[in-house]
């Protein structure tokens, strides 16, 4: 349904907790609203839930970080097209005492192998989120089956990034986290970044307009305006300019052309 | 309590087929395999005050509740002018329970509540409320929380509430048990007046003097059975059943 008369036009953005909790949206969305008069209502949930919500038509735009799932979303006709927006990276955090001795390793999978070897506590999100899927790929590369150790040193928290970090902090466990959440995260306890910079830790975000052909009420014009803005010079500059505690969290990487086929 | 209780203004005209005589046939009440009442046959005619007597636990209160349709009989029939005591019949009766159940409101509020269940204008109800309070000698206590009243005051309030319903049949379960002698006599007068205006009275009491003053006929109940049903004079002079004789003499009724 179109926005009722008198109400400010708005769109619903289905997105992830990692982006929302980092404060990025608070910083950049007012600029978009100021330019277009369109308010953006962010629903921050797990990537899986965000995609499910978008499939149900409960959002106009989807902005998540699970490339394979995003492309499937578009391929199945739920989304119009996927555009790169930005990326950040994952880091491996762990106790400063580093019982598994991974500090400074260049390879994330090598670090994982050592953690497994040392049977050092590791807090996994265990929630099929983008971060969790990335983590599972790293275990695979390290030739470790962590599930076999589930409930022992391998702890699947089945929770969001923040909750998982809270758990890691309280248990002095290792964890994989996106840098944005980490920098914004206040309850670090004894944890610190131990491994970073491996290209395998690259974490791209994509933005997709929910397909109005499937969900006629989707606000195509406003949604597209948002995608145009965030992938355009102004949005990209805003992303680049966002700093938290002195760190740049997200790196814009939009290209102008669509990555996926558009469907009628 | 005023020496001569004022006669109460009646509310609407009474309507419907007469409730009397009431015919009770083969009445039995059992619970958990125990027979508490019956088998029992009884006719209640109009124009008489029927006093129900009998030892503790004989089933007097239970019989009143059955007559009023509050509990269904296990077997047998109760017919008021041909109809069983379902709502249309019960609405034309009022019962004063052995222990008063008062609402958590003021004294006046309790009577007003009963009045509100009957047709009538606001003004008529207000007038009737005053008359009833006066009758029960509760006017000075009108605004007291009803549950704070003394035992006797509560009993008077329960009676006033029943009269507020302007019933054609009044079932009274030991309504003066906690009353002082003057209040007892006043209540007896009020009951007599109601009777004179055509209200059928069924009155349970252990007070032999009171029974003598009020009763036209006595039904004597013992262990759930009627041992006699006789005109009052006969009953008090020469009771037919040994049970009633023992009862009147203050002897244990076996």
């Amino acid at each position: 349904a179109p926005a009722t008369a008198g109400e400010k036009p708005f769109i619903i953005l289905q997105s992830t907790t990692s982006t929302a909790n980092s404060g990025l949206y608070d910083a950049i969305l007012p600029k978009f609203t100021e330019r277009t008069g369109i308010e953006v209502r962010v629903v921050a949930v797990g990537t899986g839930q965000a995609i499910k919500n978008a499939r149900n038509g409960d959002g106009d735009v989807l902005l998540v970080h699970d490339r394979a799932a995003e492309e499937r979303f578009v391929a199945e006709g739920w989304g119009v097209a996927r555009f790169d927006v930005m990326y950040n990276d994952f880091v491996i955090v762990g106790p400063r005492s580093d019982p598994a001795g991974i500090r400074g390793l260049k390879s994330a999978s090598a670090a994982f192998a050592r953690i497994a070897e040392a049977k050092a506590p590791f807090a996994s999100r265990g929630d099929n989120s983008g971060t969790h899927k990335k983590e599972l790929r790293l275990w695979k590369a390290a030739h470790v089956d962590p599930i076999a150790a589930s409930g022992r040193w391998y702890r699947e928290t089945g929770s969001g990034m923040g909750a998982t970090l809270n758990a890691a902090s309280a248990m002095n466990a290792y964890a994989l986290t996106d840098r944005g959440t980490w920098i914004a995260f206040a309850n670090r306890g004894d944890l610190a970044i131990l491994v970073e910079g491996d290209p395998a830790l690259f974490n791209p975000y994509g933005v997709i307009l929910v397909n109005p052909a499937r969900h006629p009420h989707v606000k195509r014009r406003e949604g597209q305006a948002f995608i145009d803005w965030i992938t355009g010079p102004e949005g990209q500059a805003a992303i680049a300019a966002y700093r938290l505690k002195g760190h740049q969290l997200f790196f814009p990487n939009a290209r102008r052309e669509a990555k996926a086929r558009e469907r009628k | 309590m005023p020496e001569a209780a004022p006669s109460l203004p009646l509310s609407a005209d009474r309507a419907g087929a007469p409730l009397l005589p009431a015919r009770i046939g083969g009445l039995v009440f059992e619970t958990a395999g125990m027979r508490l009442l019956g088998p029992l046959d009884l006719d209640l005619g109009p124009g008489t005050v029927t006093v129900l007597m009998g030892p503790n636990g004989a089933g007097k209160s239970l019989l009143l509740r059955l007559l009023h349709g509050l509990v269904p009989p296990t077997s047998g029939t109760i017919l008021w002018g041909g109809a069983p005591p379902t709502e249309p019949v019960r609405r034309r009766q009022a019962m004063v329970f052995q222990s008063p159940v008062l609402l958590r409101r003021s004294v006046a509020g309790n009577i007003a509540f009963a009045l509100s269940l009957r047709p009538g204008s606001r003004v008529a109800h207000a007038r009737r409320l005053d008359a009833l309070l006066d009758m029960a000698d509760l006017t000075p206590l009108a605004h007291m929380p009803a549950r704070r009243l003394s035992g006797g005051e509560q009993q008077r309030l329960a009676l006033a509430r029943a009269l507020a319903l302007d019933p054609e049949v009044l079932l009274l379960d030991e309504p003066t048990a906690s009353l002082d002698p003057a209040a007892t006599l006043a209540i007896e007068r009020i009951v007599r007046q109601a009777h004179d205006r055509g209200t059928k009275i069924v009155f349970v009491t252990h007070d032999i003097g009171q029974a003598g003053r009020l009763a036209d006929e006595v039904v004597f109940l013992h262990r759930g059975r009627i041992t006699e049903h006789t005109p009052a004079d006969a009953f008090f002079d020469r009771p037919a059943s040994r049970e009633a004789r023992d009862y009147l003499a203050g002897r244990i009724v076996l």
Binding site: V43, N56, H215 | L70
Partner: protein, 235 residues
């Protein structure tokens, strides 16, 4: 430990600063939970009263279901409401998802069984005392319920306060159907969940303190009304 101290300081600062965002969140929390409570009382109390006085086949089974519904997880209820209100769902066309209305719906559904189950017990106990008297008076079921509710008002107020507590503290359902959207559907509990996820534990606790203060004020107001009307007098 320092978290506790900081939480108190933060809470005081938040409240004293009169931060407009916080005020907005508090206002929405109260609006949602009090509306849900009103609906739950309007529906649950008569339903509970009816169950208290009615006797019919299957009543015991129904009571078991009702009591069990007190254990309906908010997340599950949230999901059910989500599926109903989702664009893909039967009521999607109403566009209610991610609005305060959706949150009110979810919370009412959540606490109605609680109000109904507890009122049922309160009123059934009362009816044991009044039942025969009321049948003698030939009260209509409607009137009988109204009077029993009035007689039991003290206990029923406590029941309502239990429902309010459940609603104001609830996060699982409102976060699913409300979406915790800033300035639109963010309430105290979803804000607390968000700050917790951010690791801002002191801030989360501070918001919790503010929420408890609100709950205290609401309960205090109810107590003041009780004492003021001298309701205890008739008890």
């Amino acid at each position: 430990m320092q978290d506790f101290a900081e939480a108190f300081r933060l809470a005081a600062r938040l409240v004293l600063s009169g931060d407009p965002t916080l005020m907005e969140i508090i206002a929405l929390s109260l609006r949602v939970s009090l509306s849900a409570l009103a609906i739950a009382v309007l529906v649950g109390l008569p339903a509970g009263a009816f169950l208290a006085i009615a006797r019919f086949a299957g009543r015991n089974a129904l009571l078991v279901v009702l009591n069990a519904l007190m254990g309906l997880p908010p997340v599950v209820l949230g999901l059910l409401v989500y599926l109903a209100l989702s664009r893909a769902g039967p009521l999607g066309a109403l566009g209610l998802l991610y609005t305060p209305t959706a949150m009110i719906i979810a919370q009412s559904l959540l606490i109605t069984p609680i109000i109904a189950a507890l009122s049922r017990q309160v009123i059934e106990d009362l009816d044991r005392e009044y039942g025969e008297q009321f049948r003698s008076l030939c009260l209509s079921p409607y009137r009988r319920i109204a009077v029993l509710v009035r007689e039991g008002r003290l206990a029923l107020t406590t029941v309502a306060l239990a429902g309010f507590g459940r609603a104001i503290a609830e996060v699982g359902a409102v976060i699913i159907v409300g979406g915790n959207i800033a300035h639109v559907t963010r309430v105290m509990t979803t804000a607390i969940a968000l700050e917790t996820a951010k690791g801002e534990l002191a801030l989360a606790l501070a918001l919790g303190l503010v929420l408890m203060t609100i709950a205290l004020l609401v309960n205090g107001a109810v107590m003041a009304i009780r004492l003021g009307t001298g309701d205890e007098r008739h008890a």
